[in-house]
Amino acid sequence: MTENLSFVVNGRPVSLSIDSTTPLLSVLRDDLDLRGSKFGCGTEQCGACMVLIDGKPEYSCSREAATVEGKTVTTVEGLSGTAGSHPLQQALLDEQAGQCGYCLSGILISAAALLASNPKPSRADIIAALDPHLCRCGIHNRVIRAVQKAATVIAGARP
């Protein structure tokens, strides 16, 4: 069942010889040592494992790794590109939008995808984009403020 699997992760082409039915999350964490994406439920119900696949937020906990053959995957580690950090990460710190923080890496992924497609999201847009994500500590309002702030920062940085 071992197959060759090639895709781009965080801008870096990778080629692995693995059991391609393994969940993508396991490949990212265990084989590629990208441990920012989290296991929360394994059934696409909490959003802790969210990654970008060709720019779209997708759960990685139960989809088979083979499904990303030839695609581009971005995890929280790759969110900032070559910059030090993504404006969303700074905005989360500015708003102190975290308690335990376990849900944040997945939330960052969905929020980044939102801002990439909708640079001026309304509160309702943000809620819709983040609704797949569960947070048990109750930092929702802080996260919403952080996404609004990051949107402003990105808009200001644009010439």
Binding site: S37, G101, R142
Partner: protein
């Protein structure tokens, strides 16, 4: 002034050297037995230590929950961390500063008043003396008992406490780092344990070859008694094997809970140990003015976003354990007992997991990893639970029934008041009642029988009786507590224990009495509240929300009020909720006023209150664990919905500035008042009061249809 009586943590860990060390130049190691569970404790303790020692926060290196060098401080629970752990660190740091200043004054032959400290360096009349904590530490020696008598700083002189210090752990977390789940040394052995579906269940059959086949690569199956562990070099293999094992396992015997477990009738039918506590004398009641109402809450689970994880390594007779336990020192002791090791050979290192809102499975995972590690010396064993096991085998926050009865006087105020509570215990953490309370240990052959259960003693805030005594002026108060110690479910602590359900019941009942009296609910509360701090909090929440001004909300929309002082000794919180109801509740806005005395980390305090509001709302609006076929009927988040982004109201918080009062525990303060305020808003919005939780769409629809 902050009181100088010794807090419990300092009584238990009396030497200054147990708390503080000046090992590395420029850096102060401060120990704490309290651990980060998402509440920001590491940041707040750092603020306290830095301020009291006159060093910068970045000079503090806080070592939390490392059992060989951190003080043993029991569990991080009950909103005690700042009030007890923080108070201990403050006294220790003040004493250390005093000791060093006295020595410098003696060495230089100068007055104490000439000396000051900056970044840990001693200054005389503002000039560097060439001495600092690190140069003096060897001479002074901290192997001495803390007296607790050194003067602590006056709150008005604080430079770091009470000011904003960004959370120290967040920068790592916004890049997805810093969790126990991410520790991955070489040579890991992954493991999962097949959980018994109920207490005492016997594994009558398991098709091991089918389990091995599901794993797809070779795995090892370790079976001792009812403890069955699957191990392999790959995590995915043990995940696949354990999913197969769960389906294939045949269980018999033991005490499966019945399907009606948790209903009010079932709860009230359980064997009980009863205790009645009475205070005061009844006032003059009016004939026929007896009001009674009964409330209930279901079983709940803590629902952390991560599943529990632990690592353990057994080498040369010594066991190292990495765990997100809330009580590393207690875990160490009970792991040692359960594994037959001397405690000195066990060392627990706290590493952060996801938020723990009560007794979760961290300790159970630590036992799993440790037990398996002892059978694989030299390997680091890593256990991470499945989501399904979390829902099925985690400790459960217990269902309760709370009945209230008041006899009213001619002013419609209570002349006599009785609260009657039926509840299993709210705490079965490791060590409680002399039981290890470690799931894996209970599955072993010859596991010691479970010793009889008690609830958290009243002097520790009580479990089912937490916040059972209403804070209002009541001439006579009677508390009847039916402890139900024999229910076949591992009931344990969830944020606030019995408090939030008691507050829900009491505050609902107060609203019901106000309605009978024809008074505004807030005015009615104020007429029964003489404590000035309590009044101020209630009045502040009313002012913030324009409670008395806002009338005539549209149909289906209403406001409710809830108030409590957590444990009657910690923070005060009053909450106003505005909601709308059609088929289900939609929260619109929440206002919260709180008095926590001296606030160490103002933004952290707000964050905790906000989180408590959202979690408290989730508890009463959505959450319920049911049982079927002898086991938990909750398999995934689909079966256990919690509030989501689209459910969250705007929240406004006001912290009452009270820096000269001692710091009061705050992490659990807003949970109860929020649930109560929701119930009290739902009643007018719906035109009918619902007394049994949760306040779900089904319950609301059934209530409307029953009209």
């Amino acid at each position: 002034m902050i009181s100088n009586t010794l807090p419990q943590s300092l009584i238990d860990n009396p030497l200054l050297s147990q708390w503080i060390a000046f090992e590395q130049r420029g850096s102060v190691r401060v120990g704490s037995g309290k651990v980060e569970i998402g509440q920001g404790i590491l940041t707040a303790l750092t603020q306290i230590a830095a301020d009291e020692l006159d060093v910068r926060p970045e000079q503090i290196s806080l070592v939390s929950g490392q059992t060989d060098i951190s003080p043993a401080e029991g569990f991080t629970s009950g909103s005690y961390s700042i009030a007890v752990g923080g108070a201990s660190i403050r006294l220790v740091c003040a004493e250390v500063r005093s000791l060093f200043l006295d020595r410098i004054a003696e060495t230089l032959g100068c007055l104490l008043s000439e000396l000051s400290i900056e970044d840990g360096r001693f200054l005389r009349a503002g000039k560097d003396t060439g001495h600092d904590y690190w140069s003096m530490a060897a001479d002074i020696g901290l192997e001495r008992r803390a007296s607790g008598t050194a003067p602590t700083k006056r709150p008005s002189t604080y430079k770091i406490v009470g000011k904003h210090l960004p959370r120290l752990d967040l920068p790592a977390k916004v890049v997805g780092a810093g969790f126990i789940h991410d520790i991955a040394p070489e040579n890991l052995l992954h493991a999962r344990v097949l959980r018994q579906p109920w207490r005492g269940a016997h594994l009558a059959g398991l098709d091991e070859s089918a389990v091995r086949k599901a794993a797809r690569i070779p795995i090892e199956i370790l079976r001792e008694g009812e403890f069955t562990a699957l191990t392999a070099d790959s995590e995915i293999a043990v995940m696949r094997a354990s999913e197969a094992a769960r389906t294939l396992a045949k269980w018999e015997g033991g005490t499966p809970p019945p399907s009606d477990a948790g209903t009010p009738a079932w709860i009230k039918g359980q064997p009980s140990r009863d205790k009645t506590t009475e205070t005061g004398k009844p006032g003059r009641a009016m004939a026929g003015r007896v009001i009674e109402a009964s409330y209930s809450r279901p079983f709940l689970t803590y629902g952390s976003i991560a599943t529990s994880c632990a690592l353990a390594e057994f080498k040369d007779g010594a066991l190292k354990v990495w765990s997100h336990s809330q009580g590393p020192a207690v875990l160490r002791e009970w792991l040692a007992r359960a594994l037959g090791l001397p405690a000195a050979e066990v060392n627990v290192f706290h590493r952060q997991g996801a938020g723990a809102y009560g007794h979760n499975t961290a300790d159970d995972a630590a036992f799993d990893a440790s037990f398996i590690a002892m059978r694989h010396p030299g390997r680091t064993v890593r256990v991470q639970w499945s989501r399904e096991d979390e829902f099925a085998a985690a400790p459960i926050s217990t269902a309760m029934v709370i009945a209230l009865r008041a006899e009213l006087n001619e002013d419609n105020k209570p002349a006599d008041w009785t609260i009657e509570i039926w509840s299993p215990p709210h705490a079965q953490r490791p060590g409680m009642n002399g039981n290890s309370n470690l799931l894996g240990a209970a599955a072993l052959p010859n596991a010691p029988p479970l010793k009889p259960l008690n609830d958290v003693p009243d002097e520790r805030g009580g479990g089912a009786t937490r916040n059972a005594v209403a804070i209002y002026d009541l001439p006579r108060h009677r508390l009847i507590h039916h402890l139900l110690p024999e229910v076949p479910i591992r009931t344990s602590s969830l944020r606030g224990l019995g408090a939030w359900a008691n507050v829900f019941a009491i505050e609902s009942f107060i609203d019901e009495l106000a309605e009978i009296a024809g008074e505004d609910p807030v005015s009615y509360r104020l007429s029964l509240l003489s404590d000035p701090r309590a009044r101020r909090v209630v009045e502040t929440a009313a002012r913030m929300s324009n409670w008395f001004e806002v009338k005539n909300l549209p149909e289906g929309r209403a406001r409710g009020f809830g108030f409590a002082r957590y444990k009657n000794i910690a923070s005060f919180a009053a909450v106003v909720v505005e909601l709308e109801v059609e088929e289900e509740i939609s929260l619109k806005k929440v206002w919260c006023a709180a008095d926590a005395g001296l606030v160490i980390a103002p933004d952290g305090a707000r964050n905790q209150l906000e989180g408590g509001i959202i979690q408290g709302a989730s508890f009463v609006m959505r959450e319920q664990v049911r049982f079927e076929d002898g086991r938990s009927a909750i398999h995934s988040w689909q079966d256990y919905p919690i509030l989501r982004f689209s459910d969250i109201p705007e929240i406004e918080i006001e912290l009452i500035d009270n820096p000269n009062e001692p710091t009061l525990g705050l992490g659990e303060a807003s949970v109860g008042p929020t649930g109560a305020a929701i119930g009290n808003a739902l009643a007018p919005a719906l035109g009918r009061r619902i007394r049994d939780l949760p306040l779900t769409r089904e319950r609301i629809m059934a209530t409307l249809l029953a009209e």
